[in-house]
């Protein structure tokens, strides 16, 4: 069964395998769609919304930089 936009984690892993040097701090959604379309197993013709694409990028970022999200608030920051 092919990958689709709801397979957030699997998509992120496939993207990292293929494009490890991608700068995700600035990756545009149009570019992401092109990269995803280049994955052989990807089989989804629906148009994803911005939040779905951000979810994929977020999951991908945590593969590139495996560290816990910073807990930021006045309890631990000025």
């Amino acid at each position: 069964m092919g990958l689709n936009w709801s397979d957030i984690d699997n998509l992120a892993q496939e993207l990292e395998k293929r494009y490890p040097e991608t700068d995700l701090s600035v990756l545009e959604h149009d570019e992401l769609r092109k990269l995803v379309a280049g994955i052989d197993e990807f089989d989804d013709k629906t148009v994803p919304d911005d939040d779905t694409m951000e979810s994929v990028i977020r999951a991908w970022i945590y593969i590139q930089f495996p560290e816990e999200p910073e807990k930021v608030g006045s309890g631990n920051i000025d």
């Binding site: 560290e67 999200p69 920051i77």
Partner: protein, 607 residues
């Protein structure tokens, strides 16, 4: 006929010992109909040490309304929202079916931070709340309350305070976390705007007390830029590795601006020495760490694109890239300015570099390219947070042992360079807002210090009184009732505080599996008692996956669960040490026993 009453309650945020877990409820009860309308300001998490408490964090009791106003995007103000979506899933599902929604009223940057939290905590998009974007200076109405958001300055962009006008005309100003120094991104504090709001009358002024024991006014990013440029002048011929808290977006701007200005000044010096003219070449700003990349995405989404802003401010093109990018790898080491996560020595970018475990940044690789004698500078651009002293010091020591030149500012003594500015109001800032209200409000204003320990709140009260305002301190769990600008009563709900303990049984931020406990905290004895466990419906999953795919092993298989249970019965009595180890695991039976014990104690006290 009963009189209509406006109420304010602190569900969290006025804690005796820790700052955090902010949640403030504003209500109005109509004397004629008895109808009660409620809105909430902030719903944040209270950080804690899991080894000590058995919990990842605590959140205030669930808001009793469907409208939450958010002051800014720090976790101690928004961190409860994702958990709220879990705990109220069934009820919110039914409401959505009726066309009703939980609405979060917030600025764009806070929305980006909340979305990041919702994604990270596995809340399906279909369940997300509705976001109503607020804009400073543009009033709106929620549930019978008139709301006027106003810009304030803080360490994160788009922070706001609110004036909340109850249906009976009571006007309450809540500052959120604030300082009065100017901020480089977005709108910030404006004396005139505060004065205009005060002219319409402020009955109650809820003030952030966190830094109120510091004298003077809190410094702004302009001073940080000066300090940063001084330190940059001392950092020639090698790479700079710096640590920054990810959501301190103003600091990211300050770094970029300092790099650009330093390049301009360097270029001017070359020209004065007779070298041919060339474009200023600032160091390349290289980001390392997931939270920093996400913060940059949020900044870009909200119109804070640093390259464009710096170009407009200085005319200089600055490059900002991620550490894994080709540009980062191709940049000569002495042209690199790394910005990294992990300012307090936690398991993040900086510590990994110091220990040679960072896959993108290697001290050895830089020395192999730039020469063994090339200096490497390591600067922490965030002061040490109380409680992190040992890790902070150990981190600096590791870099020193690796032959780096370090500058880690102290929190407790004067520093040579100013590389950090707090986001909170010092005594001078508190005095400023009190003075504005005293001079402009046509009716008396009562100050209620919030968001600080008791000493900090007492100091705000003192400052308020020095500025001819009345002031009163309320702890958590107190409901204050007022008629117009007169407090008519306040009720202490209980001596002990009630929190929701959040426990990720998986201990994996990528696949959390949450358990929520009702926890009573006695501020006097500092004892926490679990009194119950919340039952909640898990988020729906895709059909091809099992419903409990994320659950820890012992939760997945019912048969295995029964076997474990049977084994437990056969086992000899466990020692206290074993019980301590097992504490993070949910134990319904234990919770029941504790709940009964608490009830017994309460009855004994005559409650």
């Amino acid at each position: 006929m009963a009189e209509s009453v406006t109420s304010w309650k602190s569900a969290g945020g006025n804690n005796p010992d820790h700052i955090g877990g902010n949640g403030y409820e504003f209500s109005y009860t109509d004397g004629e109909t008895g109808e009660k309308k409620t809105i909430q300001v902030d719903y944040g998490s209270l950080f804690c040490d899991k080894k000590q408490t058995g919990y990842d964090c605590f959140i205030p009791t669930l808001p009793n309304c469907d409208d939450i106003l958010i002051t800014h995007g720090h976790e101690d103000h928004i961190g409860g929202i994702a958990h709220l979506m879990n705990l109220r899933r069934k009820e919110l599902e039914e409401k959505r079916a009726r066309g009703e929604n939980l609405t979060i009223h917030c600025t764009p940057f806070a929305r980006e931070m909340i979305k990041k939290d919702l994604q990270g905590n596995g809340i399906p998009k279909e369940e997300w709340p509705v976001f109503d974007i607020v804009e400073p200076g543009k009033p709106f109405e929620v549930n019978g309350f008139k709301i006027e958001p106003f810009a304030i300055s803080h360490s994160i962009p788009d922070a706001v305070g609110y004036v909340i006008e109850s249906p009976d005309g009571t006007r309450m100003m809540t500052t959120g976390d604030f300082k009065t120094a100017q901020v480089p991104l977005g709108q910030g504090w404006d004396d005139k705007q505060i004065a205009e709001l005060a002219k319409k009358g402020i009955d109650y002024l809820f003030i952030d007390s966190t830094s109120s024991i510091q004298q003077g006014e809190t410094i702004g990013e302009a001073e940080v830029k000066t300090g940063l440029k001084e330190i940059l002048k001392q950092s020639q011929g090698g790479p700079v590795i710096s640590g920054v808290i990810s959501s301190s977006c103003h600091r990211l701007h300050t770094i970029a601006l300092a790099l650009a200005e330093e390049a301009i000044e360097r270029e001017q010096k070359f020209r004065e020495e007779g070298w041919p003219a060339a474009e200023p070449q600032p160091r390349v700003m290289i980001l390392d760490g997931a939270s920093l990349l996400l913060a940059r995405r949020a900044m870009n989404a909200c119109g804070y694109k640093l390259e464009d802003i710096i170009k407009k401010e200085t005319g200089v093109d600055i490059k900002i890239v991620a550490s894994n990018s080709k540009t980062a790898h191709r940049t000569p080491p002495d042209q690199r300015f790394y910005v990294c996560t992990g300012t307090q020595g936690e398991e993040a970018s900086l510590l990994k570099i110091a220990e040679g475990r960072n896959k993108e940044i290697s001290l050895d690789e830089m020395r192999a390219v730039g020469g063994e004698d090339m200096p490497i500078y390591v600067y922490d651009l965030q002061s040490c947070i109380p409680g992190s002293e040992a890790k902070h010091q150990a981190l600096e020591e590791k870099f020193k042992q690796a032959g780096c030149k370090t500058y880690f500012p102290s929190r407790y003594k004067p520093n040579e360079y100013t590389v950090h500015a707090s986001g909170h109001a010092s005594a001078g800032d508190v005095a400023k807002i009190c003075k504005i209200c005293a001079e402009n409000s046509p009716r008396p204003t009562m100050v209620v210090p919030i968001h600080g320990d008791p000493q900090q709140r007492r100091n705000v009260m003192k400052i308020a009184q020095e500025n001819d305002l009345t002031a009163c301190i309320f702890p958590n769990m107190v409901e204050m009732n007022s008629l117009g600008n007169k407090v008519i009563s306040w009720e202490v709900a209980d001596k002990s505080e009630e929190w929701i303990g959040v426990n990720d049984l998986n201990n994996d931020f990528r696949r959390p599996y949450y358990m929520y406990d009702k926890v009573e905290y006695d501020a006097e004895t500092k004892q926490r008692i679990k009194t119950d466990t919340y039952k909640y419906k898990k988020a729906p999953r895709k059909p091809k996956e099992e419903e409990n795919a994320d659950a820890p092993k012992e939760e997945i298989n019912e048969t295995e669960k029964k076997n474990v249970s049977a084994r437990k019965k056969a086992e000899p009595k466990r020692s206290e040490k074993d019980d301590a180890k097992a504490q993070p695991k949910a134990d319904k039976n234990n919770a029941d026993v504790i709940a009964q014990e608490v009830m017994k104690r309460k009855r004994a006290k005559g409650k």
